[in-house]
Point group: C2
């Protein structure tokens, strides 16, 4: 199937789409891509199918596959869903996370704090990502974990955008502490609520940003 070449091409294309080098509605021309990657159409088509099945592109029969960047509405939906997935992870993790997991969580959170002090936004974001991934894993439900990881990856570029909202980082850290505390106490409901709010606010910030952009034109 899509071994070696094809899935490597899929990864590359995925990165290109996520980084926004292709714009909404762009047609992903098989021939162009084929010569660009110096392969035949076959592996290109397999790579495109991967994009389509992950929702990053849309395929219209006999017309081709087109880039499908989520619009504001769908993005809000995805953030909402992410908030619920994370809440679910937190709910399970509260009673299931290992001691080791909790230790890592605290450690990574410390790194986050340090990154903020150093104004190292890049580090903050990578550590923040790990923080959440530890919780997904702590839920001890590999299916749910996969779903969460998938959506986290998909939303990554948009989380980055709403980075520099004034005071957001410190607020975010306070929320992290609440989350850790709830997990340490083993309080499922509290963990779920804290995580839902923590992620949902990202969606709201994003919404604000979109509104700001729209009001400019």
């Amino acid at each position: 199937m899509e071994t070696r070449r094809a899935n490597q091409i899929a990864e590359t294309l995925e990165q290109l789409l996520l980084s926004g080098k292709y714009k909404e509605g762009d047609r992903l021309d098989e021939l162009r891509l084929a010569e660009h990657f110096s392969v035949s159409r076959t592996p290109i088509r397999e790579a495109l199918q991967v994009l389509v099945s992950s929702g990053m592109a849309e395929q219209i029969p006999r017309r081709g596959v087109f880039v499908r960047q989520p619009g504001p509405v769908e993005l809000m939906e995805m953030f909402e869903t992410m908030a619920e997935l994370e809440a679910a992870c937190g709910r399970f993790a509260a009673t299931r996370i290992t001691e080791d997991g909790l230790h890592k969580l605290v450690e990574v959170n410390t790194n986050c704090q340090q990154a903020i002090l150093n104004l190292d936004y890049g580090l903050y974001y990578s550590e923040n990502e790990i923080f959440h991934q530890i919780i997904y894993h702590g839920a001890a439900n590999s299916y749910l974990e996969r779903q969460a990881l998938q959506l986290q990856k998909r939303l990554k570029p948009y989380r980055k955008m709403q980075l520099r909202f004034r005071g957001r980082l410190n607020q975010s850290m306070a929320e992290h502490l609440q989350i850790v505390t709830a997990l340490q106490k083993g309080n499922a409901e509290e963990a779920a609520i804290a995580l839902r709010a923590h992620v949902a606010v990202q969606g709201e910030k994003f919404h604000q940003m979109m509104a700001t952009l729209n009001s400019k034109d």
Copy 2:
């Protein structure tokens, strides 16, 4: 891409996998399938990719694609996740579902009740499915709705299995009523809790059934 033939084949294969005609670990031979469907390997390969990307089959490079029926552990994980997705849908639907949606919900629920009285299990299950789908839709979040629909479809054969647990149907109807009431009141938390419990119990029943089967050998 997988237009016309290929996606039709994918659907057929999907049904075959869900109905359990292929067993865990079976290799899906491209040549055999190709001659069986009287097509070349190309559309078969595209169909297989669809199965792989939906998690119903696994592909090992240079070896082929193999049927991947979820084991007891993964099934429990999927039921757990379904419960959380439905809870999320209920949470949103409580404040967002339309009057029309509520009416349909009551109507479908009446059909469920009638089906039980008539001992028409087939009808009960199809109406029950619709009942839940109305709630997914009522959440007014098309992304979440898609996720819920996808997992519902995936779990369908296993829900059917735990059909004849004594008293389950009547209990199920009572839960439906609770859910409808919560939605009518617009009580998000109550709706979420009711839906989570309603779905989670399916997973538990399934678990019981698995245990029963295991104790027999």
